[in-house]
């Protein structure tokens, strides 16, 4: 009707469908990879190839997780993969998602149907999820340590131990801020898993894969299964890093892997360290560029 259509209006269909697609590829696909990688702290306990690094199950989990992290960090063009495969798609999905979500309203009180509640939760989980992802990436990837309880800088070489510290705020117990951050992770990750599973369900309607009510129900069971499995991966990973990992033992295992990886001990000079820490802990202060 009006001559002057905005960019958003002119490309309405394409942008809407790209928004839908980007939630599955690459973001949803990455979420699956990321959560199964994190869950290696648990499934790694059954990884017999990690037995040479640690006798105890948790140690095998730490070694397996470190092995996974090393694999990712050794991918070629890892920064470009991050930029074009993750950050830009997530920014695109988040910005458009918020623009679309604000066109909705909430009427779950009057119309308390399951579908309506899922619709509402999809938008809520989007809002919370994007804030959580920003905190997660800013603290653990971009090194905004002033936002990390205890000021721990996450190290890709000492992945499990520094992550446990960054979640708990302390090596062996939860600080108040650590508890807060751990709860943020629990809710943030759970909401994002929901967002993906429910988005997978609605995307099938959007693209017209599921038309009949029976097809939507069948696909709903598939999406719910995906959601439950991912939730199990997410919760077991969080449980592992929050409660199972012994920071000092993990550092020992990671120190051995570091040595194997780099052919030398983890650098300990210039490390402020902490008096009660054993030697490989010193490498905590090194950042990922050392690798």
């Amino acid at each position: 009707m009006s001559e002057q259509q905005s960019f958003m209006e002119r490309h309405h269909f394409l942008l809407r469908r790209l928004h839908s697609l980007s939630g599955i590829v690459p973001i949803g696909t990455f979420l699956i990879v990321h959560l199964t990688t994190n869950a290696s702290i648990m499934w790694g306990m059954a990884n017999h190839r990690a037995a040479e690094y640690a006798a105890d199950p948790v140690g095998r989990g730490v070694a397996t997780f470190q092995h996974e992290v090393n694999f990712i960090n050794n991918l070629p063009f890892v920064f470009l993969i991050e930029l074009f495969g993750l950050w830009l798609p997530i920014a695109f999905h988040a910005v458009l998602g918020v623009m679309y979500a604000v066109t909705g309203s909430r009427n779950t009180r009057a119309y308390a149907y399951g579908g309506n509640k899922r619709y509402m939760l999809q938008r809520l989980s989007g809002y919370v999820g994007v804030l959580f992802i920003f905190y997660h990436v800013a603290t653990l990837r971009w090194g905004w340590t002033f936002l990390v309880p205890g000021g721990t800088e996450w190290s890709s070489q000492f992945a499990a131990s520094t992550l446990a510290m960054a979640l708990r705020g302390h090596a062996d117990h939860f600080s108040i801020t650590g508890l807060f951050v751990s709860l943020l992770y629990f809710f943030g990750v759970s909401l994002l898993v929901y967002h993906f599973a429910n988005g997978l369900w609605t995307a099938a309607i959007t693209w017209g894969l599921t038309v009949s009510r029976a097809a939507q129900q069948r696909w709903g069971y598939v999406c719910a299964t995906v959601g439950v499995l991912l939730m199990a991966a997410a919760w077991s990973a969080l449980g592992g890093f929050m409660f199972a990992v012994n920071v000092q033992k993990a550092e020992t295992v990671e120190g051995v892997l570091y040595q194997e990886h780099h052919g030398e001990m983890a650098p300990d000079e210039n490390a402020p360290g902490e008096p009660d820490l054993i030697e490989p802990q010193a490498a905590l202060s090194t950042n990922r560029t050392d690798g």
């Binding site: 209006e9 469908r17 009057a110 149907y113 309506n116 619709y119 009949s212 939507q216």
Partner: protein, 274 residues
């Protein structure tokens, strides 16, 4: 009246009971709304319309003040025309099929009536539903048969297609699906109708006519309208529409079907359009 105080069974009907009606009133477009209450004696088998008729004949509020009769719209009184759609106890439905024995079985029960919130109020419970008819025009919800000569008989339709389309054809453009939709909003200015979310009913009507042997000639134009702003992609899949549809039209299936047609149309245009 005294006999009615002893909780009558839902369909007793012998004893008159009194039901309290809370009605959201408005004197005209743009005027402020206010609540008024009425105590209505209920004979057996009353519906909301018969109660509104009683109020029209006895326009006195519960606290004894004289007021104007409450205005509402209704026509068929058998849930076929959709004119008497309003929000009853917080949910949208037709008032003619809303039985007081179900909604207010006991003496002193309250029934709350409001106009639909997604359409501009003309007066009291009467709303302006012009936008829904504009939406039907937007998706060209008709079969193009106008011409200078007879086109002869239309194509045959198989029983399965007929069965699917018959259900869709029952839509009475009542507005329930729009009222319950969290993506559909009040848009008083007709200039905004073309780009605001169109709602489930016109999407379903587009499917009805796309699947018609002759109506499919306009399929591409209908999809064009539905692929733009306010079309199929603005649906948020809350699926309230199918829950509140009084005709039980599979509106979410129509949304999925139009979504599929739009996907195919987009690929067709990209790879095949000249």
């Amino acid at each position: 009246m005294t006999t009615a105080t002893a909780t009558p069974p839902p369909t007793a009907g012998k004893a008159m009971r009194t039901v309290h009606f809370r009605i959201k009133r408005c004197d005209g477009p743009g005027k402020p709304s206010r609540w008024e209450s009425f105590n209505v004696p209920i004979p057996a088998n009353s519906n909301v319309i018969s109660c509104l008729q009683w109020i029209a004949a006895n326009p006195t509020t519960a606290d004894g003040k004289a007021t104007t009769p409450v205005v509402w719209e209704s026509s068929c009184l058998e849930e076929v025309c959709g004119a008497c759609t309003m929000v009853i106890n917080g949910k949208v439905r037709q008032s003619c099929s809303c039985l007081i024995d179900e909604y207010a079985p006991n003496d002193g029960d309250t029934v709350t009536l409001e106009p639909m919130s997604k359409f501009p109020v003309i007066r009291d419970l009467w709303v302006d539903r012009t936008r829904m008819f504009a939406a039907l025009k937007r998706v060209k919800a008709w079969v193009p048969i106008d011409g200078t000569y007879s086109l002869g008989a239309g194509p045959m339709e198989g029983p399965r297609a007929s069965e699917t389309r018959y259900k869709l054809s029952e839509c009475m453009t009542c507005g329930c699906c729009m009222e319950a939709c969290p993506q559909y909003h009040l848009q008083a200015d007709p200039a905004g109708w073309e780009t605001s979310f169109i709602g489930a009913a016109p999407i379903s009507q587009a499917r009805l006519f796309n699947d018609h042997g002759t109506g499919k000639q306009l399929k591409s134009e209908r999809l064009e309208a539905l692929m733009g702003p306010g079309g199929i992609n603005d649906c948020g899949n809350a699926q309230n529409c199918v829950q509140v549809c009084p005709k039980e039209i599979p509106l979410t299936e129509s949304i999925g079907a139009i979504g599929r047609a739009a996907t195919v149309e987009a690929f067709r245009r990209f790879f095949m359009a000249k």
